[in-house]
Structure formats: C-alpha cells, structure tokens
Amino acid sequence: MPGQMSFVQNFPCFSIILCMFIGIISSAFKEKIARWLNIIALVVNIVLSAAVLLYTVRTGESYVYVMGRFPAPWGNELRVGMLETGLALFFCVIMLFCLLGGRHKLVQEVEEGKQGLYYVLADLMLSSLLALIYTNDLFTAYVFVEINTISACGLIMIRQNGRTIEAAVRYMIMSLLGSGLFLVGICMLYDLTGHLLMSNIKIEIARIVAEGAYRPPLLVTIAIISVGLAIKSALFPFHAWLPDAYGYSTVSSAAILSSLVSKGYIFLLFKIIYRVIGFEVFHDSKIVDILFLFGLMGMVFGSLSAIKENDIRRMIAFSSVAQVGYIYMGIGMGTQAGMVASVFHVVSHVATKSLLFISAIGLTDVSGGSRKFIELTGSGYRNKCAGVAFSVGSLSMVGVPMFSGFVSKLLFSQAAVQNDGKMLPTLIVLGISTILNAIYFMKTVIRIYTPVEEGEYPTVEWWSNKIYASVLLCFVVLNILLGVCSQPIVDLIESGLNIFA
C-alpha cells in the first residue's frame, strides 16, 4: 500500500534508537538499574522485532523506511524484510541469554563499579548490530561497523588483566585494518556510482557492467570490501587476533563476540553481495572462488589448531574459525542454495557457539577455575547441567542428527551436489572437517565424563544458580528446535533471500 504506512513499520527505527538511548542514559545510573534497563531494552526489542517479523511474513515483501524526509537518492533509509527481522529477533534473544548466562562471572571478574559500563557497551553493541542488519545506506553501515568495533573492544577489555588488554589491542589493530579497507571500498564505490544508498548503487553498477566500463576498479572495489569484512569476521588467514580475544575476556563477552559480532559483519557482506554489487556481478568477478578457497582452508586449519589447543576456551574459539570457514564456503559456492546454507549456518552457529561458551564456564568453575583439559576430568559429573549442555553443543557442532549443526551440514552438502565445479572439494573438506570437529569435541566430552575419585573439587547442583541453569536449558531447547523443525526456518530464509535484493 504505497503512501499509507502501518505503525509496525516504524519499529526497526524505534529499536535502534531505543538501544542507543538506553545505552547513553545507563551510563548515568547505578549498576543494578543499568542491568535492568539492558534487560528491558532487550525484551522490548524482542517484542518489536517479533511484531515486524509477523508483519513482513504476512505481507510477504520487504519495505523501505525513509529516515527523515529526504527521498531516495539523497536521504537515509532502512530496509526491512523477513530475513532482517528474523535475524534481529534471533540476535536479541541470543544476546539476552548470553548476558544472563554470564552474569555471575561478570560480577566476579569485572571490578566493582565498572559493571554498569558493561551494560552500556552491550546496549551500544546491540544498537549497532541492529543498524547493520537494517540499514540500506553504505556509509551508515560503515559508521555502525566502527561503533560495533569500539564496543566490542570495550567488551573484551572490561575484564582488566594484561591478557585482555593485549587481546583488545590486537583485536583493534586487525579490526581497524578491516574497517579501513571497507571504507576505501565504499569511497571507490561512491566514486564509481555516485550513490551511497544500496539499491541505487546496484542499479548504477548494473549499468556500468552492461556498458563494460570500469572493469578493473569495480573488481578491486569488490575485492577490497570482501577482504575488509573477511578480516573483521575472522576468516582463516586473518584470525590471529581471535583466540586471545575470545579466550580471556569474560564469558558473556566471548559468547557475544563469537556468536553475534562476527555474524553482523557476515550479514553486511550478504547484504553487499545481494543488494549493492548484485549476485550475478559478484559471482562473475571470481572473488567467490577466493572466498571459497579461504573458507575451505579455514575449515581445516581452524579445526587443526583447535585439536592442538590445551585450553577449553581457546579450543572453542578456534572452532569459531572453522565455522566461519563454513559460512564463507557457502558464500563461495556462488549459488542460491549455498547462500541459504550459509545463512542457516549463521543461525545455527550463533545458537551453538554461545551455548558452548556459556556451558564451558560452568565446567571450568567446578575445576578450580582452570581451563586445562587435565583439570576438567570428570567435571561433567560435578556440574551436571553444564556437562549436558556442553555435550549437546558439541554434538551439534559435530553434526549429529537432531541438532542444528546437522541441518546446516546437510544444506551445505545439498548445495554442493547442485554445484558441478565445486562439488568434490566441498564434500571432501566437509568430511575432513567433520572428522576433525569430532576429534576435538568428542575428546572434550569424553574428558569431562571420565570419572575421578571424590574430593578435590566441589560438586555444584543446578539449583545453586537457577538463572544459569535455565539459560542453558533454553539454549539446548533452541538447538534441538533448530535441528528438528528446520524446514520452516529454511523456508523463511529462502523467501527472505528472494526479496533481499
């Protein structure tokens, strides 16, 4: 209905503004109020996103929300479809779980008086994630990429020890390189097309390509933007900053960083592929093959590094490298099916990786705080709840049926079979990577369920920390739900991608 606007259509804008506003006012309040404000922001966001999701599913098409009163080629826009709202809803839910599940560690690990700031950073992080998901303007995307980087850096270093500050510095260096490249890419795109709104750029690029003009600059631009975002989302050769940043920060930060922050950048890349460059042009530029290759390498080398690791948190962090490799492999296949598989893997990895980080903390807590495998022996008996949750996460990562990881692996292999040129390498590496995953995750599961003599460490019952236990339960249910009822979600992703461009 052109001209007439439903009230629901305002919600994406509201949710971005709300998070940012709450983030700003939280800094003036005490910790407890900041925490409650954060929870309220998340819950309100969940409700708003769910309403918009229902609305877009009912209308079956995406809509453009004009920010301010300047029409298309000049103003700023949000663009909202099923995929965007679905992911926004999902990200908010996961963020809520991550913050609740890691709260008791936050209280222990972060200095008194600084915990309020943690929630300020979390609010800013959420608003930047939502803006990255919804925005239809490239330069706005750049600004929010930087806000995201800064708040992510804050989340890493809020636990004050030498390790985390060093990790934050390394994270910043790589991230800033990535956003610098992204910025150059945007400037070159603006130079080529004269637009900053994604849809306008796409029309102009289609024209340029049809004329056959500016071929080298366009190729360089696509390459620079892809590499910039790949660095920020820790694709294989650029992952050096990742294990420290995820391994030593407080557990909520690790879960949020690994599951949400890197996915925000990946989603931006999806958006750029579909909405800015155009899928065909991107595919013809052969950049996909390079992403495919790095994705495959990441899948193998990430897992190999994880096997060598003797520290459970760093092992899970390295596993992220492998999983990001899967996502880029799906992008690199250059088919619609590959993209659907990638988006589903984004969802599945978000649910599983945060579960693994949150449950691992329960296991290390009952092992005297040590993260070495030898100390973790039998910890699955000492904290039954975390043990079960960790096993579920591991099974899902390995790709056992019933869990979400299985569905994404199934989708990847289906996509591979439909793709003649890349079928063999994909299937072979998928197989190798699954075996490697099984080695290090099953090794850990067996280790935590190896009985030891009584004594050394205390046993923790689930009711001693009810919030933690219920968060783990929610995660487990979410994982099984994604694994069992995957079809509606896959359908949603497919129809979302169809109207995405």
């Binding site: 030498g162 500050i165 610098g180 910025l183 150059v184």
Partner: protein
C-alpha cells in the same frame, strides 16, 4: 596508464599513503607507531575523498547571491563523509591510545611483541 596516473595524481598519492599507513599498522611493533600508521591510513582515505569531491573551477555549495546553475557547485557529500570519517577516526585513535597507556603502565614498554613475551612468562 602512465598518463592516467599522472592526471589523477591526487588519488595515486592517497593510495600510496594508504598502503604506507597500512604497512605501519601491521608491521611496526611499537604501539605508538602503529597508531600513527592508523592515522595515516585514515587520512589517506579522506584525501582520496576530498580529491574526488573537488571539481576545479567550482565553488562550495553555499548560496551567496541566489542559486546559480548546478554546474557552479561541487558535490557536498564527499566533504560530509570526510567529516564523519574524521570523527570516527579520532574516537578510535583515542581508544587505542588509552589502551596503550594501560599496557605501558603495566609492562613499562610500548613494544607489543615484548608485551606478549612478558604475558607468556606471567602464564595467565
């Protein structure tokens, strides 16, 4: 190729500066030098934008005596982008410097590799 490079010398210089800054950010082990590299890198992008946004013979789009023809003004958007970019880069530099101060207070060195070595010794 050569003639194009000469005609667009502003852009060429910007790209060379970008690579220099990028190299400094990656390869220097001194944190302050890294931050300087970061700033060179960002500034190179602004030079690129400013160079692209300027059309010789035209003026800034500020209306003095009535609106003249469209041909009289330059495009104001790149200048706006430069301003936004400067704000972002200032805040990022400030954050990096504050992290550097923290590390220096703890380890009394600015060398990132040496800090990593000390961390290994601490065995945290």
């Amino acid at each position: 190729m050569g003639a194009n490079l000469f005609n667009n010398y502003g852009e060429a210089v910007a790209m060379i500066l970008f690579v220099i800054g990028c190299g400094n950010l990656m390869l220097q082990s001194n944190l302050i030098k890294k931050i300087i590299g970061l700033n060179i890198m960002d500034t190179a992008v602004y030079l690129f934008l400013a160079q692209k946004g300027y059309i010789s013979g035209r003026v800034a789009p500020i209306v003095v005596d009535g609106v003249q023809s469209v041909e009289a003004y330059i495009n104001p958007v790149p200048s706006g982008l430069v301003l936004t970019g400067i704000v972002v880069s200032v805040s990022v530099s400030a954050l990096m410097l504050s992290l550097t101060i923290r590390l220096y207070q703890r380890y009394h060195t600015l060398d990132l590799d040496e800090i990593s070595l000390q961390l290994k010794k601490e065995g945290l």
